[in-house]
Amino acid sequence: MPPEDRKLSQIRLKRMLRNFAIELVIYGVLVVLYYFLALRLLSSPLEHLFEEYLPAYAVISLILIVAQGVLLESLTSFLLKRLGLQRME
């Protein structure tokens, strides 16, 4: 690989790693906020449902994990796109 191309490749790699680190930090902050503002509020109602009516708890559990899956996938994709990480080659 010519020296100029190697240098460009190293610069791109450093930029990519930097953007990755930024994404992790932003994601970490958002997740901690999400935990304190949303997840903790669910703890008591879920415990109550678990003790009172398991079939409903089972359905709600599945809905919650699917919903969080969709939500976090959208969030991480958004961050990847904003930081240009989707164009990694």
Binding site: V31, Y34, L54, S61, V66, Q68, L80, M88
Partner: protein
């Protein structure tokens, strides 16, 4: 932090960390990661009956993220995955019933545990030999990594079965294959998974490559797509039995989501044979963990 449903106190960052590592593995290899997550959860004090169910719940969410990422990369054959998942779910239930029937006969835990070790070592050895051959073939014969499969005997037999209806899957590059072959492969992998009490990702992913002839990247994405449904089904059945701490699963999943994205995107930097070569290490790691449990007097599986 206390998790009132399972009644344990665990550091949530530790749980998110487990999810993160398992997420990377899942996104990169197309496996559920239960072989790693389950022992770690157990070691952090989660009661045994909550380990499997809670892990399945977190696996469902993680696989949604990873499958979606692989779908964007063009790695998911939805049509094939949807057909196979039917066979897989029937297989899982059959395998679980067979396990219960055998356990009622007597002390089968050690037998099943050592059977699992043999299966894991076989899968790991086969994948290792095949992928080394494929890597060499790509270099010496200058063929594309997609075409390099070190062993295609089983693919030819499976695709050679002409029992209608015959289907084609352009995404996977499969021109013609019997519906019954697909359902049978799904049933066999599901049965093994249900019998051994595992997610089955590192049985199913190699079966998709060596049994159906799917390119590795598409096998990973399609396997993750299937895991969404099989793990979701498992979550429901375990939750009804009171074996899922969904709050714990949601916390684990916060780490798994970003790990799965990283793992899935990383597949772009590796060709099929190299991914299979790295994948071949996982069954050996799983076998070592099971052996440690067996030698400690446990069953090695159903923590």
């Amino acid at each position: 932090m206390e998790f009132p449903i399972s009644g344990v106190i665990v550091n949530p960052f530790f749980l998110a960390g487990i999810g993160f590592v398992v997420g990377i593995l899942g996104g990169f290899f197309g496996v559920g990661g239960g072989f790693l997550a389950a022992p770690l959860m157990f070691l952090s004090g989660v009661p045994i009956n909550f380990v499997v169910g809670t892990d399945l719940a977190h696996m469902t969410g993680k696989s949604i993220v990873a499958a979606r990422r692989h779908s964007v990369l063009g790695h998911v054959d939805v049509k094939l995955g949807a057909i196979m998942v039917t066979g897989t779910i029937i297989g899982v239930e059959s395998g679980a019933q067979l396990l219960e029937a055998l356990q009622r006969l007597g002390q089968m835990d050690q037998v099943i545990g050592w059977t699992y070790v043999i299966i894991l070592v076989s899968i790991g050895s086969f994948t290792l030999i095949e992928s080394l051959h494929a890597v060499r073939t790509v270099k010496t014969e200058r063929i594309s990594a997609k075409e390099a499969l070190g062993f295609d005997g089983l693919v030819k037999r499976v695709q050679g079965i002409h029992i209608p209806p015959m289907l084609s899957f352009p995404v996977s590059g499969i021109e013609s294959i019997s519906l019954w072959s697909l359902l049978t492969v799904g049933f066999i992998t599901g049965c093994l998974a249900g019998f051994l009490g595992v997610g089955g990702g590192f049985i199913r992913m190699p079966m998709l490559v060596y049994g159906l002839g799917m390119p590795t990247h598409i096998a990973i994405g399609t396997d993750l797509f299937e895991i969404v449904f099989s793990a979701g089904f498992g979550t429901l059945t375990h939750a009804v039995k009171g074996n899922v701490d969904i709050f714990m699963a949601l916390v684990m999943h916060t780490g798994a989501a970003i790990g799965a994205q990283i793992g899935a995107l990383s597949t772009r930097f590796f060709r099929g044979p190299r991914i299979r070569l790295l994948f071949s290490l996982l069954p050996f790691i799983g076998a070592i963990l099971v052996i440690i449990r067996l030698l400690g007097g446990g069953s090695g599986l159903h923590f």
